[in-house]
């Protein structure tokens, strides 16, 4: 590393020059970038953001608020990374850049500190998280919500109003680490279900659907105890130290249950878990363990699509699939979920334009950058309006929430589901 980091406030986590210099500014990535697509501006493009990082790295400019604003607008969707012929590890660079911004001693960072504090105390503490989410979950499925919407109480352009639009309508019971899942008779193998933080609290239904899909293939799912948040939200926010702590805890917890595959039904978590080796690169012992760990991690669609046993599934519906960024771009999985949906008897898979352009949810982004988030959501709403699906399927909780809002914006009544939920339902209908 040497003097590379000397213009950054946190030299040990400075973006590596070898990473930055891989960008030859060919520009092939710009139109894959949602924020460039919306703004048409170079500073809101991957190439622009990398160029600014390099300029800071070389001491040409300081870490000013103007620079930070361009980085802040980045969704960390990694669409740029997937199309870059030069292999610029954009995701890694941006995590390191965010770590610098968070460490910078300038003023006006109160909000960032607060965010970090909340994140640290929420996602890693199951009890606190459960207590915090409980009222939200209650509200999501309540009569109060329906009445409030009817009365127009939430039409205010407030944070509450925005949140309301995104909540699932029947969140179901949570599923947390250590919870029991129905026993599968004569199971032929076992798999760990990664429960996550918000996912487990608000999308317990999805986890259960995944477990049932696995069960029909003779696989016993296990919500192994001791696992915690994957750390993605913290890493994206630049809180690498904290993310590393979570990674170590997950590695330890899931090593205890053996070698079974780790099935993840939240694309963002899956991408993070698969990249633990990179996150822990500075820690020799854990980096090695992380590699063995990552080799076990599979996205639910990826895993199920490859199972030799085909379970009959039937469901008459027009379904559109929207790629979660961290599935399509970070994990490069595009075909598996489509194959599963197209394999459902009676299901018509309809494609929209730009199904792999970020929906604007992006973890906490929707709250921090409401205007860009809304602009991207509006594109999805317009796309849905054109193809008029019965259901919108995706594979990540944040996206699901954003699509709830987009569908409503489009004036449609389509339901928003996880691929596993739809598959589970279709299998159940086919008599499984």
């Amino acid at each position: 590393m040497g003097s590379e980091g000397r213009h950054w406030p946190l030299p040990e986590d400075a973006p590596a020059f070898a990473d930055l210099s891989r960008c030859v500014h060919c520009g092939l990535c710009v139109t894959a970038c949602p924020t460039y697509v919306v703004t048409g501006r170079e500073a809101e493009s991957p190439r622009g953001r990398l160029y600014l990082a390099r300029a800071v790295s070389e001491g040409r400019i300081g870490l000013t608020e103007a620079v930070e604003a361009h980085w802040d607008l980045c969704l960390q969707c990694r669409a740029c990374e997937a199309v870059c012929p030069s292999g610029v590890p954009y995701g890694r660079i941006m995590e390191h850049v965010r770590a610098q911004v968070a460490a910078a001693p300038a003023k006006g960072r109160f909000a960032r500190r607060l965010r970090r504090l909340v994140l640290r105390n929420l996602v890693a503490r199951p009890g606190v998280l459960a207590a915090a989410v409980a009222p939200v979950r209650w509200f999501a499925g309540s009569r109060t919500r329906r009445l409030a919407v009817k009365a127009g109480l939430l039409r205010l352009p407030s944070m509450v109003g925005r949140l309301e639009k995104q909540l699932p309508h029947a969140p179901g019971r949570p599923l947390r680490a250590g919870d029991a899942l129905p026993e599968v008779e004569a199971a032929s193998s076992r798999a760990v279900l990664f429960t996550g933080c918000v996912m487990g609290e608000l999308f317990g239904n999805v986890h259960r659907a995944t477990a049932r899909v696995l069960a029909r293939a003779g696989i016993q799912a296990l919500a192994a105890p001791g696992q915690v948040c994957c750390g993605a939200l913290s890493a994206h926010d630049g809180d690498l130290a904290f993310a590393r702590g979570l990674a170590r805890r997950n590695i330890e917890a899931l090593e205890l249950v053996g070698e079974d595959p780790i099935i993840v039904d939240a694309a963002g978590c899956g991408a993070a878990l698969k990249e633990y080796e990179q996150l822990l690169a500075g820690d020799r012992e854990y980096a090695v363990r992380a590699r063995a760990f990552a080799a076990r991690v599979r996205d639910a669609s990826e895993f199920v699509a490859e199972l030799p046993m085909k379970v009959p599934a039937r469901l008459g519906a027009r379904v559109t699939y929207q790629d979660p960024c961290h599935l399509a771009h970070a994990q490069r999985i595009r075909e598996a979920p489509r194959r599963l949906l197209a394999g459902i008897d009676g299901c018509t898979l309809v494609e929209t334009v730009a199904s792999d352009l970020c929906c604007g949810a992006a973890g906490t982004y929707g709250l921090l950058q409401p205007a860009m988030s809304a602009a991207l959501r509006a594109r999805k709403a317009a796309a849905f309006h054109r193809v008029r699906p019965d259901a919108v399927a995706t594979a990540n909780p944040g996206c699901q929430m954003q699509y709830e809002a987009a569908v409503r914006e489009a004036g449609l009544s389509a339901r928003v589901v996880h691929v596993m939920e739809l598959l589970d339902e279709a299998q159940a209908r086919a008599g499984g």
Partner: protein
């Protein structure tokens, strides 16, 4: 001298304050394009309409500030780099496709529309826009017009100028003018043709009418795998001599295909000396026999293997490698200097040998991609700009290579344009009188040398950084070559 403040205020009064940027951090990302050139503008402005473009140009003229048009900044000759600072006029807000007329088979677009979107929008009518630069996902139609861009599929179908019917432009004087129209033939001087390829030195295209073609019924894509560039080149000559004009005929050398394979997993055998991509299209009855002939030609010239793409996905993968080949070189070195020489096809092998020789002399790694069918070569010299003296060495080696192309009876640019860095070489091809005439033509559109200055023509003052390239040129041979 106008102060920056006054300039920004004046521009803001035309396009609104949110459409002018002027902080250093915001300007920095407009100091470059796809090349290694750099120069920081004083302001960047995003006009939203033809009228705003015209008003911006007039404002800059009245303040005596240089104007440089910019599309997506993928250019490979420094065209969008504001050599004398001043104002960059970016087309990022003018990105609408205004019309697709399937009966007339044409489209009308604003200049900032990415090339590929024309084909995407025309697809529902079974039509497409033919010129397909490798950068087509990002580069704009306005930038294509300015550079008269080509692409792999331009071998049979022709380059940008063969597909643009008409233009609305704002001249360097700030006047709105229409050139050409909606049909192929217009009477009088072909000013449309003059503007296309003028590298943003005559004005800014604000509306572009392009011809659309029907998507061919059948397509076959072959990948010939060779042990050497020589064998692949001989195959190219044989295919063309056989009377066939494939839709595309592209060659990639070892270094380049290795980088592409590493970056894009496109299925190129990494131990090959060169691969040849041959695409044939048209009706089934013709394409089948042509593919057989092309395959035979490959094998007759020592191809180790000839693969045929089995489906559109496989075809796309083969093309992904070719289209990402240049960008993938970032895996090998932090910088590359890309050349764009054209030589008669028959001299390709000989010039290639010279290219390797020069690279060796200067201790540089060189990778090559070719639009082999047109004799258009793109040697890419790899280097690290942080190394003292590296840039000068690369420029000098580049000058020797360009010289070799000219001496072989070729040209200075196949498709990337002359731009900033290659303008010093113009006297190799043109005498003083020719250059003067070009200068006069430029003057007709207005400007007084302040419109995209220091580009295309070797005249003009105050282009400081030009110094090193002139030195490079002198090293490569006498100035007056013709």
């Amino acid at each position: 001298m106008t102060t920056r403040r006054a300039l920004v205020d004046r521009l803001a009064s035309v396009v609104g304050p949110s459409n002018v940027v002027h902080r250093r951090e915001d300007l920095l990302v407009y100091e470059f394009d796809g090349t290694i050139e750099q120069s920081l503008p004083d302001a960047v402005v995003f006009p939203g309409s033809t009228e705003e473009v015209a008003a911006v140009v007039r404002a800059c003229n009245s303040l005596g500030v240089a104007v440089t048009p910019r599309g997506a900044g993928t250019g490979l000759s420094g065209g969008a780099v504001p050599a004398q600072r001043g104002v960059v006029v970016a087309t990022g807000r003018m990105r609408r496709i205004l019309e697709i007329d399937p009966l007339e088979r044409l489209a009308v677009a604003e200049p900032g529309v990415p090339n590929i979107q024309l084909s995407e929008a025309a697809a529902e009518h079974g039509l497409f826009y033919a010129p397909d630069p490798s950068s087509q996902k990002a580069c704009t139609i306005g930038g294509n017009v300015a550079e008269n861009a080509g692409g792999p599929h331009c071998l049979a179908l022709g380059v940008t100028t063969n597909h643009v019917l008409g233009l609305e432009i704002v001249t360097a004087d700030g006047e709105v003018v229409t050139l050409g129209g909606r049909t192929c033939e217009t009477s009088g001087y072909d000013l449309r043709g003059v503007f296309i390829g003028s590298e943003g030195t005559l004005g800014i295209a604000t509306r572009i009418v392009v011809r659309l073609l029907p998507v061919p019924a059948a397509v076959v894509t072959l990948l010939g795998v060779f042990d050497s560039v020589e064998r692949a080149s001989a195959t190219v000559s044989a295919i063309i001599a056989g009377g066939m004009v494939p839709a595309a005929l592209e060659m990639i050398d070892r270094l380049c295909l290795q980088a592409a394979e590493a970056g894009l997993q496109c299925g190129y055998p990494a131990d090959a000396g060169a691969v040849l991509l041959v695409e044939l299209d048209g009706v089934d009855e013709v394409v089948g026999p042509q593919a057989a002939l092309a395959t035979a030609a490959c094998l007759a010239h020592g191809a180790r293997e000839v693969r045929t793409a089995r489906d559109p996905a496989e075809r796309e993968l083969l093309w992904k490698g070719r289209k990402g080949a240049i960008g993938s070189l970032g895996r090998l070195a932090p910088n590359y200097y890309i050349l764009d020489g054209v030589v008669p096809r028959s001299r390709l092998v000989e010039v290639m040998a010279r290219v390797s020789e020069v690279a060796k002399e200067y201790g540089l790694l060189v990778a090559n991609v070719f639009h082999a069918g047109d004799g258009n070569l793109h040697p890419l010299l790899l280097f690290d700009d942080r190394e003292p003296g590296a840039r000068a060495r690369v420029l000098e080696a580049g000058a020797h290579i360009m010289r070799a192309c000219v001496e072989a009876g070729g040209a200075l640019s196949g498709e990337h344009g002359i731009g900033f860095e290659k303008r010093a070489f113009m006297p190799w091809l043109y005498g003083e009188a020719d250059l003067e005439n070009m200068e006069r033509l430029r003057g007709v559109f207005g400007n007084g040398g302040r419109f995209n200055p220091c580009k295309l023509l070797p005249t003009g003052t105050g282009c400081g950084e030009m110094g090193h390239n002139q030195a490079a040129m002198r090293a490569a041979g006498p100035e007056a070559y013709v």
